[in-house]
């Protein structure tokens, strides 16, 4: 029973870190219909920027991590302005391939500049794990999950309560009407992509404190994040979070009780199963995207 409880808790913590990645991805994918393979690269860059600010320049975490996210968002603006804007009206395959180009380009630039040797960002504090009964939780993991939850809540409030968030929702519901209402849709596209990049970078920044930072870390995460997003229901934030938790917990259970080798297949097997039953995902509306 204790092992089971520990497994579930580990799963929830892993799921919490998937959630941040998945929310950013579902945002860009659901709103802009962009299969963004560069999402994982922004996640990787977020980790590297954190390394730069926290280790190289030796800023405290509380300043370094937001700075890393900010730089990633600026980079997102640049990518949108110079690469994606010319192809927004093109076929979805063309847009996707452009992000594939970035997926090839960015990790190799990093490899050339910094070599592929894994780097480590030290956590802001060292504390012995909390022990509740027989269950152990590392404080840093708990902190990461809490920050992820905080960012997701902040993002949700931004979308629902601010003028810009409202303008974004309007733009992706009906672009023409939004334009007629005086919304600068070009700017909205830029901001949306930039925020998606920021979410990815936030995930990378958080996880850089417990995992190694290396150029290929983005590519490994991207496919699984896509599975989580479709599993939960495309463009649905609650679905993305639920999907992330389900995948995290199932992986943890599979790793403990079945085989650690097949652990990484869990997300994909779940995806295939759910697609057979409900092709729009767990929380997805039929043929629709929540906007």
């Amino acid at each position: 029973m204790n092992i089971f409880l520990q497994t579930i808790i580990n799963g929830v913590i892993v799921g919490g870190t998937y959630a941040l990645m998945a929310v950013g991805l579902t945002f860009v994918l659901g709103f802009m219909d962009l299969v963004n393979f560069a999402h994982g690269e922004l996640y990787m860059l977020g980790a590297y920027f954190t390394y730069f600010f926290v280790v190289t320049i030796a800023l405290p975490h509380i300043i370094g991590i937001p700075l890393a996210i900010l730089v990633a968002m600026l980079l997102g603006l640049l990518i949108e302005r110079f690469l994606l804007r010319p192809v927004w009206d093109k076929d979805i395959l063309i847009r996707m391939l452009l992000t594939v180009g970035l997926m090839i380009l960015i990790p190799n630039v990093i490899t050339v500049m910094l070599t592929a040797v894994p780097k480590k960002v030290p956590p802001p504090f060292t504390m012995s794990p909390f022990i509740l009964g027989n269950v152990r939780v590392a404080p840093i993991q708990l902190l990461i999950v809490l920050v992820s939850v905080f960012i997701i809540v902040l993002f949700h409030l931004f979308m629902q309560r601010t003028r810009l968030g409202k303008a974004m929702r309007a733009t992706f519901q009906d672009k023409e009407v939004a334009m007629a209402m005086g919304i600068d849709t070009k700017k909205i596209y830029a901001y949306t992509f930039s925020i998606g990049c920021g979410m990815a970078a936030a995930g990378g920044a958080m996880l850089s404190m417990i995992y190694n930072v290396f150029p290929a870390m983005g590519a490994i995460t991207t496919t699984k994040a896509f599975a989580v997003v479709i599993l939960g229901g495309l463009g649905n934030f609650a679905g993305a979070i639920l999907g992330a938790l389900i995948v995290g917990v199932s992986e943890s259970i599979a790793g403990t009780y079945i085989s650690s080798g097949y652990k990484d297949a869990v997300a994909f097997i779940l995806l295939v199963l759910i697609l057979m039953v409900k092709p729009s995902g767990i929380m997805g509306k039929k043929g629709g995207i929540e906007k």
């Binding site: 063309i94 090839i104 380009l105 050339v112 997300a267 092709p279």
Partner: protein, 327 residues
């Protein structure tokens, strides 16, 4: 018509004589790899180029083909040609199951769920050690032998892969230029219209994915005996990325596009190798530039160049070109 044939004859001669012209075994190797990629890009183009459903799990069929051929020769002792046939048939059967589940989805949903299938096959290839030897891979795969003929040189391998590549281009050409091809176009341009005229869409998509899986599997079967070694690396997502790049940068939904794309994007990393770590950076930049400035792919560029020559002979052609823009 006669004009069309004038360049085909020297081209055919060139392709047939290629092993005599290339002395370096390294370049022969690159040429054979390019041929394998021609088969793969053509097979992906059948589904993704013509019907517009992008599969990102296509490398699974290639990998399964590679393992099927290698295992049936090494463990079951089947003759090579039979093993090669099996390496096409098994992925084809699997593609039927994949299609059954994923054809209810479109665009990004479809693309991502096909990744899921491919990732599952990759993890099986790593973890089912009794069958696949896991990450260690299968070494010492015997070279193909057809009757008494053992394909133990680059030149012999070249002619085999040439036959396979030409057959797959021909097969794909025949499918696309039949009534099936017209249905593909209908599905891509206006699916609802196609459905409302009573077309069983799934059946036609099934033809596209199964024919594509068959070709990709055969390419895998050839690859295994050519390299004499396979490992779960054949299931890497990068394989599909390569194929997609070749198809789209070459020219989506054309017969010649994937061929041109496969040749150029197999050669490019090799030509750029002098730049060491920068080769993939240049590859990525080249890809982005092609998408931004040449969305029709390299094939459209070739056509433009061809039209340039035509216009100098038949000046009126430019008028016909212009009328196209009015649409």
């Amino acid at each position: 018509m006669r004009k069309k044939w004038t360049w085909i004859v020297p081209l055919t001669l060139l392709i047939l004589m290629l092993p005599l012209l290339i002395e370096s075994s390294y370049f022969m190797h690159i040429t054979i790899l390019a041929m394998i990629y021609i088969i793969l890009a053509t097979s992906l183009n059948l589904l993704s180029g013509y019907t517009g459903l992008l599969s990102l799990g296509h490398h699974a069929f290639y990998g399964i083909g590679a393992y099927t051929a290698a295992l049936s020769v090494m463990r079951l002792g089947l003759p090579f040609l039979l093993a090669l046939l099996l390496s096409g048939i098994l992925p084809m059967i699997l593609s039927y199951l994949v299609g059954k589940i994923t054809f209810r989805l479109r665009s990004s949903f479809f693309a991502i769920s096909t990744i899921a299938f491919a990732e599952i096959t990759r993890l099986v290839s790593i973890n089912w050690v009794e069958l696949t030897e896991g990450p260690m891979g299968l070494p010492n795969i015997p070279a193909a032998s057809i009757g008494p003929l053992v394909l133990n040189s680059y030149n012999k391998q070249y002619y085999l892969v040439l036959i396979l590549a030409v057959s797959s281009i021909f097969l794909s050409y025949r499918i696309v230029n039949s009534h099936i091809g017209r249905v593909f176009k209908g599905i891509k341009d206006a699916e609802y219209v196609a459905i409302s005229t009573g077309v069983n869409i799934d059946r036609y998509l099934m033809i596209a994915i199964m024919a594509g899986a068959f070709m990709a599997g055969i390419a895998g079967g050839f690859y295994g005996q050519y390299m004499k070694f396979i490992s779960p690396d054949v299931f890497y997502f990068q394989m599909t990325v390569n194929m997609v790049v070749m198809v789209i940068a070459g020219g989506l939904g054309t017969i010649g596009g994937p061929v041109v794309g496969a040749i150029i994007f197999t050669l490019a990393p090799e030509v750029l190798r002098f730049s060491e770590g920068y080769s993939f950076i240049l590859y990525g930049i080249a890809l982005i530039l092609i998408i931004l400035f040449l969305p029709g792919g390299l094939w459209s560029l070739l056509k433009k160049v061809k039209n340039l020559f035509k216009n100098s002979v038949y000046p009126n052609n430019s008028e016909i070109e212009g009328s196209d823009n009015l649409k």
